[in-house]
Symmetry: C2
Subunit: 191 residues, 2 copies
């Protein structure tokens, strides 16, 4: 998606360890006009697929998921990193390893909000090693819901995420795929 | 706001300890059409106030903040509960006590995204003791930004949050104010 790639080139920052910081418009400060254009693009890609629920994971996926859901006229469900005592006892649970933080954590969704008959689009801001997506796919499959596919803002195309998700039989669509990064520039895969 | 109050009566659940669970439409599953109506209402309330940035706190404030920001044509900034190593060194930091979890945690925003001249609307899903709002107000004031006011989805009117926030000289507007809760019913304050 040209608009997103241009924005990454303009405002993204590359740090050692293959870290691409886009917190001026995507995951700390959020440019909601840009996100709306991304949501429209995701709707084009998955139009006619019968999506009736968008699933994401807290925290930085929530903004893009909510704005995208407006184009699908469907609710968002965000998986929670387990810590609250307010959550219902009746949850699906999986474990996710954080590439960023190097830790493992439990992720849950309430059984009340996902189940057989649901056609779920998984939306997230980043795809790197794919751990978050694999966890969300696992939650859907525990619930008997169908995963229509994944829609990602920025994929790190040089990491293993896509292969690992596609190996689960799940479609992956990314609005921008970073082929390589260096101190000075970001190169995108042609789509 | 009638639409929100009716939805709370229909789908909210009251649990011991003054817990109002609205996770079927507000803070786990998110009804984005309802949130859009709430965003429109918030825009009506704060129209003409010069809001150029919406500030919230992860995670459950992000959805309502992003959808509301579309009506203000301004970006969202969400304060992060401190744990990431990706965040810039240059942050404003404050401490918030969680009513829900009974713990204290650091909350940060990057100095790059808030400063003098900003007119900030703080948006969140709940107001109870007001600790999150007080933290967000503190971050704004550290940054030299003006706090235009707070817009809250659901206020627990029987707790001290409003008084504590208003004591800081900050306007508070809530779309629904719960006057009292019991096992069977929720009573709202007339506005």
């Amino acid at each position: 998606m040209e608009l997103l790639e241009q924005r990454i080139l303009k405002d993204g920052q590359v740090f050692p360890g293959n870290i691409l910081k886009v917190d001026s418009f995507l995951n700390h400060q959020i440019d909601v006009d840009l996100i709306a254009e991304m949501g429209k693009e995701i709707k084009k890609i998955y139009n006619g697929c019968g999506v009736n629920k968008i699933l994401t994971i807290e925290a930085s996926g929530i903004g893009i998921a909510c704005i995208t859901a407006q184009f699908f006229s469907c609710p968002v469900l965000f998986a929670k990193k387990m810590k609250t005592k307010n959550i219902a006892a009746s949850v699906y649970k999986t474990q996710v390893r954080s590439f960023t933080h190097g830790t493992e954590y439990d992720v849950i969704v309430s059984k009340d909000f996902i189940g057989e008959g649901d056609k779920v689009l998984i939306v997230d801001d980043f795809l790197a090693e794919g751990n978050a997506l694999l966890g969300l796919i696992d939650l859907c499959r525990q619930a008997g819901a169908e995963v229509v596919g994944c829609a990602i803002a920025i994929e790190k195309g040089f990491q293993e995420g896509r292969n690992r998700v596609e190996a689960k039989g799940v479609r992956v669509e990314s609005l921008a795929i970073v082929e390589s990064m260096s101190d000075n520039t970001v190169t995108f895969r042609k789509q």
